[in-house]
Symmetry: C2
Subunit: 223 residues, 2 copies
Amino acid sequence: MKKAGACDLKTCFLCQFSIPEWIAAVGDHKQHLSYKKNETIFQEGSPVKGIYFLYDGKVKVHKQWGPDKELIVRFAQKGDILGHRGLGSGERLYTVSATALEDTTVCYTDLAFFEASLKVNPQLTLKLMQFYADELQEAERKMRNLVHMDVKSRLADALLDISRLHNDIQFTISRQDLASFAGTTYETIYRNLQEFIQEKLIAVDGKSITILQEKKLKKYITL
Amino acid sequence: MKKAGACDLKTCFLCQFSIPEWIAAVGDHKQHLSYKKNETIFQEGSPVKGIYFLYDGKVKVHKQWGPDKELIVRFAQKGDILGHRGLGSGERLYTVSATALEDTTVCYTDLAFFEASLKVNPQLTLKLMQFYADELQEAERKMRNLVHMDVKSRLADALLDISRLHNDIQFTISRQDLASFAGTTYETIYRNLQEFIQEKLIAVDGKSITILQEKKLKKYITL
DNA sequence: ACAAAAATATGATCTAAATCATATTAAATC
DNA sequence: GATTTAATATGATTTAGATCATATTTTTGT
């Protein structure tokens, strides 16, 4: 991680929903930081020091289980907020880790300043609340999927989800990350990807995946 | 469902975090409603009309899957807010159902009034945001458990969770609800409960479950 | 109080997906 | 550019837990 130039004070969640008079204060307090591919931005279990806003790059938000198992909870990209799970009423420890999937730039605000921002900008609090509400809905939908859908359907859901995020039918992701996101193992993902390729619903070239038949993939989810 | 007497304007989330000048408006707008055991308070997929606050009784918050499968996302009790998942930015449909597990009293506020309350009371918005943050953390923890823990550990977690909620080592719950909460089937719960009884970690008498050795149950979770 | 419906109990069977094992290829790192 | 390390490929084996089947008990509606 190294410090980088100042940000434009327009793009991020914080600037977007703060009153104009507050933006100057934001400029004084926020820092631009950059991370290399695979670098950890923050670690599950460590104390929450601040909040991050993704400027550029891709980040995975994940929970660890033992030494070699994980669950990817979310992929974040430009504009997304990171580390906000620490704002709850419990102990101030990150409950997830964030790791850069490619070279990434974020801007960072310490917790005290962010909390002050919430007090000063009710609109910010409201938007953040709505953002949480959406994430909660999505988390619960995923929970239900984990319990009631088979792996192939969950993989279809994961592929569509990632495609939607990238706003592109083509994207790049490792099999292992796909497994951790769909809540299964590398081998099972490998086999089910093969099936989707056979069925011509997707095309794969190295780490690049292209969705060929979105409609048919979607059918797996409601079935 | 039938209308019941007015509420005390003190207990619920809404009253607790509204400024004093707003309480009168709350009194004018909120309604007390009562539901009999097994009655549906609101249904997944139907339009969000308002927000509920639990006054008395126990409620399960659950997602349906097909005609005969479900996932219980949360048990709610006195003071808890219900229906708030509808506050996100998406379509205004309930993403979960709420069903009374025993005779229950709630108070109800239509959505427009609740949203006005959020605008008027930044403190309310802030508290609600924190509440969401906590629920999100918990949902993500459960997701990880579903993926990486076996049923016995998830059952241990569910039992401890329910005990904590009731603030009592003894509580009452059907095997089917326990299964839906732990993300598994009735039969599997039945068998694992037998094991816990054999190991003398719990005692069961009809629908009543008593936790005998909390410590040992907890060990299942981190293992 | 009685019939119908729901919840519980328990064994037998089946299967999706995890685990194991090992070869190959690609990507970092020194 | 060579060497370690990580990611991918793919078959074989195992297993946890779902599903099925059926009997009994409890609850609930009329």
